[in-house]
Symmetry: C2
Subunit: 269 residues, 2 copies
Amino acid sequence: MRAAFYISDGTAITSEVFGHALLSLFPMEFDHDTISFVETVEKAEAAKIKINKAAKRTGMPPLVFHTFVNNDIRKIIDSCDGVIYNFLEHFVAPLEKELQLDAKPTAHRTHSIHENSYDYRIDAVNYSLANDDGSNVTNYEHADVILVGVSRSGKTPTSLYLALQYGIKAANYPFTDDDMDDLTLPDFLKPHKKKLFGLTIDAQRLIDIRGERLANSKYSSARQCRMEVREVEKLYKKEKIPFLNSTKFSVEEISAKILNETGLQRYKY
Amino acid sequence: MRAAFYISDGTAITSEVFGHALLSLFPMEFDHDTISFVETVEKAEAAKIKINKAAKRTGMPPLVFHTFVNNDIRKIIDSCDGVIYNFLEHFVAPLEKELQLDAKPTAHRTHSIHENSYDYRIDAVNYSLANDDGSNVTNYEHADVILVGVSRSGKTPTSLYLALQYGIKAANYPFTDDDMDDLTLPDFLKPHKKKLFGLTIDAQRLIDIRGERLANSKYSSARQCRMEVREVEKLYKKEKIPFLNSTKFSVEEISAKILNETGLQRYKY
């Protein structure tokens, strides 16, 4: 299998996203390897040896995605037996010209604790955890958004993603069986109605997900799942709560759609 | 302020990472805007109007980072009053030649629910939440890694990041004051010693963080924080538990370092 390396002097997250976006265009499999924190000439030499070994083993030059700005290290990586894809080099000069400003490359520019947004993000994670699953209904004045929906409709992973990635304080509240008789908005949510965002899910998908957790239960029964989905969707429409169906979407997509619809301020790009 | 747009037919996460990596090289501020899910000609026209308005407002062509593969939509965006940076175009042709394979662009290639790793990631988030903060010490046989450390040394955000981003089941267990008299490894951790990874933190940083939560308490006192840090570091060394000091690192960096040191398999690139 063709080897693909993602290399950087930091986390290599940028190199991974860059390489993954390109390789996902090709209908073939790759053997992925990330080499992060290549901050010294010695580590660069070790990375080069690793790449060259993969070239020998596979009989094909590995694809090497990197974003080095330090010349000494870059030269070592560029001299390996792989094919180099350095996405910075095509764009830095045009951007320098456009901005009439020289690029000032420093190590660890992105994904580091020095990003302005970092403390917001950690605060948001702590907030979202403390306000997960209706565990604290008295604290919603500090929320940026409150996700609502039935159990297993995607609220918790989405809340955590919004917090970790964007620094958004996302609480979530589950509508449970007890609420379902003539479902109305609980009193403690009413003052925060503008922050509510609803999730819903196809009943069949809900039956499947709940069945994996608790097979042969009322919780996972077709009748119960259909009723809960019907009730929450009726509530969203009646109360004009914006909502989306999470069935076919990843947490990244759900989060991006929520940002789109609400115009919520994000603390990180 | 110069406007920067990140545009895509999906989440635009790739465009954001790409643009952010480039702009972070320049010591100036930008006014960021993401336009996601531009899947139709109509939405592309609306995006173009938004970019052109920003051009008028700022008197400077906005910087437009995109990754469109659909030609109809791309042409509309490319005809706006901004400067276009399309990072795919420089790399697709060389990669096609190298792989001797035509690129097969489809929408939503990355960050979608169709990625193989998606279910692993959601399972891992559920596992990490259920095994956060020592809440379930009988379930560690399913962990990929168990983070240990004193309260507020970064275990929880790191566990969640490892789960959400990489599909790694990361439990975490806090050493608390009760454990601190002659700190030894609790019996329930001993069978899983190979999965342990320790976090530590500079005592002064710990004093600051705990002080924000509970000022003037034993928990946040200099004496207590110094003692706890000293005890856990002694334990890590005695038990040969790999560990790192989280003080100067982001969750992304801590996670990347843990992956580096442990060689844990990640389910997503």
